[in-house]
């Protein structure tokens, strides 16, 4: 390094570099104002320090205590987690071959096909969910087809197709499939293909190459994809309220109802919200350990 460069560096050091803080400040402020502060407020509601109604109120853990002592809420949470896990696992399983084909088959139209994959997003989310009502109803496309083929007699439709857990999981899977395919696609596309060639040169079969090279290297994308589905669906409330019926009711619906449907119970609603947030945050931390490429 020459003397001139040294002086220049020293000059730079003397003047504090505000670029990084300047760039980080707006998003951090945004996060603080619209994420951390609201969570803090919700936390205060959960312990009755804040109360919607102008009644005497004081700090209490009673809502937390009744949440953990009332098996109904925890059972509902576990039901939602199971539904979400099933959806996430199945969708990842379906999306992986799709993303694999797009990323590694060498097809020149991969970006066109990717565009086709996300084409359903050009229509409204609500419209896409409502369309399933037409397909799955007692007089819907599926049941009408079954009547026509004689598999089911006209008076005996498969009612479990709609307003059921199955309907919620089917629609959630349909809605989230493109979201899952994208991170896996990105992960596979950035794969160093020389590694695949090396595996082949060393005598590995295509299956062995996939199992020992491709899959491990794409795991971060798979985990990211899994979380992409799991996190939003475990607290989902729109889809179950449209196609879930009484049996497809999820934890997210309960939160919405506690805040607004019956008699406003923001205390319990806040507890349920924070519990969901805590579990999702913990799972994200656990999963993120697997997202590191070894």
């Amino acid at each position: 390094m020459g003397g001139g460069e040294g002086r220049l560096t020293a000059g730079r050091r003397a003047r504090p570099d505000l670029t990084t803080p300047g760039l980080l400040a707006p998003p951090l402020a945004w996060l603080a104002i619209f994420f951390l502060v609201p969570i803090g407020i919700v936390a205060l509601y959960s312990v009755n320090v804040l109360d919607l109604l102008p009644e005497p109120h004081a700090f209490t853990w009673s809502a937390w205590h009744s949440f953990f002592s009332n098996s109904i809420y925890l059972t509902l949470f576990w039901k939602s987690v199971k539904m979400s896990l099933i959806v996430s696992a199945l969708v990842v399983a379906v999306a992986y071959p799709l993303a694999y084909y797009l990323a590694l088959s060498g097809t020149p139209r991969k970006y066109v096909l990717l565009l086709v994959l996300i084409a359903p997003f050009l229509t409204s989310y609500l419209l896409r969910v409502l369309a399933w009502k037409v397909i799955l109803g007692d007089q819907g496309v599926v049941n009408t087809f079954l009547f026509w083929t004689g598999i089911r007699s006209a008076g005996h439709p498969i009612s479990a197709l709609l307003y059921s857990r199955f309907a919620v999981m089917l629609v959630l899977g349909y809605v989230w499939l493109p979201f899952v395919a994208l991170p896996i696609f990105v992960s596979l596309e950035s794969l160093d293909t020389r590694l695949l060639e090396a595996a082949s040169d060393l005598g590995a079969s295509r299956w062995q190459t996939f199992r020992r090279v491709t899959l491990p290297l794409s795991i971060p994308g798979v985990i990211a994809a899994f979380l992409f589905v799991f996190i939003p669906t475990v607290g989902e409330f729109i889809t179950p309220s449209l196609v879930g019926g009484a049996s497809g009711y999820m934890y997210g619906n309960q939160i919405v109802d506690l805040f607004g449907t019956g008699f406003p119970d923001w205390e319990t609603g806040s507890v349920l919200s924070l519990f969901l947030l805590g579990v999702v945050a913990a799972l994200t931390v656990v999963f993120s350990r697997f997202m590191r490429v070894r």
């Binding site: 102008p54 109904i72 059972t75 109803g137 049996s247 506690l258 449907t261 019956g262 008699f263 119970d265």
Partner: protein
């Protein structure tokens, strides 16, 4: 605020100055004419758009004929609507800082809001159509001898079913819990109604104020029957779609739902439960005036427009609800029969239980939420 709102505010401010000057002169005048003019001055002095917190369908989304007379008389103070999905939602909005001039809870909430400090009584002398309103419903809008609620729309909660598919064993609420129709039943998402109906079935002394043991029994009953339920509806259009598609054959419903399903050509019966002490539950919409509103006279004028016989007939013909104006009659004789509009006590005993204050509403709501979660 939108451009219209700004414009209207400017106009009314300039007008208010004229009104203030004229009011000084008016004070010197005597007689009824002067009083009427003074009232008009008061109205003119109130500025801005009237803020109404109301249910979907009652605003500029189809309910315009109900308040057309008001808009015609006060073109500079057109109503601006915020929508409420239920009373709990309204309560949350009011406490969160929304400041409407008036809003519409239903009869079971009159006492709650009257004692909450959020509302003030109406001056019924400023509502010219008040004298035509159903006296029974007027009384239901009173608390402590004051008129906190002005009754408008009303109807029943009863059981709607497909007569070609369903054969009830009795005229009973029990049809909503009939094992024979598993998967074809829809309940209504109301925190009080379902536990109350269970209480009616069990014959409890006061289904609206059940003891802890009774509430537990009602809740367990609902949880044990929930597997029969296809869905729990919360909007009428959802219910119509459920019936129309054949997904549901039995539901707790309102008179208008019966009218709409008949219009679709479906063979439906609107059954008023009458076994034992069972009866339908009647509800009445009550306009309430917010405390501290800057537009009390405009709010009275708005309610007056809603209370006219013309508005009442329109409501009955188009929405299928009853209207508290006793001069209003629907064109449909079916609806006339379903609502029993010729009976001034249609919403009371012995015909129906009028919905009422629930002292432990929060407990009911919590138990109902647990039913849904179970």
């Amino acid at each position: 605020m939108d451009r219209d709102g700004v414009f209207e505010k400017r106009v009314t401010r300039s007008k208010a100055l004229k009104v203030a000057a004229a009011a000084s002169g008016a004070a010197l005048l005597a007689g009824r004419g002067a009083a009427a003019e003074a009232a008009q001055f008061q109205l003119d002095a109130e500025s801005g758009r009237l803020q109404v917190l109301d249910w979907a369908g009652y605003g500029n989304d189809g309910g315009q004929p109900m308040f057309a007379a008001y808009v015609k008389a006060h073109p500079n103070n057109k109503p601006q609507f915020t929508y409420m999905t239920n009373e709990a939602d309204a309560l949350a909005k009011l406490h969160a800082g929304l400041k409407p001039d008036l809003f519409r809870p239903y009869v079971g909430w009159v006492k709650y809001f009257a004692t909450s400090g959020l509302v003030q009584p109406w001056d019924t002398s400023k509502i010219s159509n008040f004298k035509h309103l159903n006296p029974f419903m007027i009384k239901a809008g009173q608390y402590g001898g004051k008129q906190y609620g002005i009754p408008e729309d009303w109807g029943f909660d009863a059981v709607l079913y497909r007569s070609d598919k369903v054969k009830p064993k009795a005229k009973s609420w029990g049809l909503l819990y009939d094992e024979r129709y598993k998967g074809k039943i829809a309940w209504f998402d109301d925190p009080v109604e379902n536990l109350t109906i269970a209480g009616l079935i069990f014959g409890f002394k006061d289904p609206w104020n059940q003891t802890d043991a009774e509430l537990k029994q009602s809740q367990q009953f609902l949880i044990s029957k929930k597997h029969l339920v296809r869905t729990i509806w919360s909007s009428e259009t959802d219910l119509w779609q459920l019936f129309g598609s054949g997904d549901v054959w039995i539901a707790l419903a309102w008179p208008n739902d019966w009218v709409q399903m008949k219009k679709k050509g479906l063979p439906v019966v609107y059954m008023h439960p009458s076994v034992g002490k069972q009866k339908p539950i009647a509800w009445v919409g009550m306009f309430m005036l917010l405390n501290g509103t800057p537009r009390p006279n405009l709010a009275h004028a708005y309610v007056d427009a809603w209370s006219s016989a013309k508005s009442g007939k329109w409501l009955e013909d188009n929405y299928g609800y009853g209207h508290s104006n006793t001069l209003a009659r629907p064109s449909s004789s079916d609806l006339l029969r379903a609502l029993q509009l010729t009976n001034p006590h249609a919403v009371g005993l012995p015909n129906a239980y009028l919905d009422r204050d629930v002292p432990r509403r929060a407990v009911y709501a919590k138990l109902w939420e647990e039913v849904k979660a179970a």
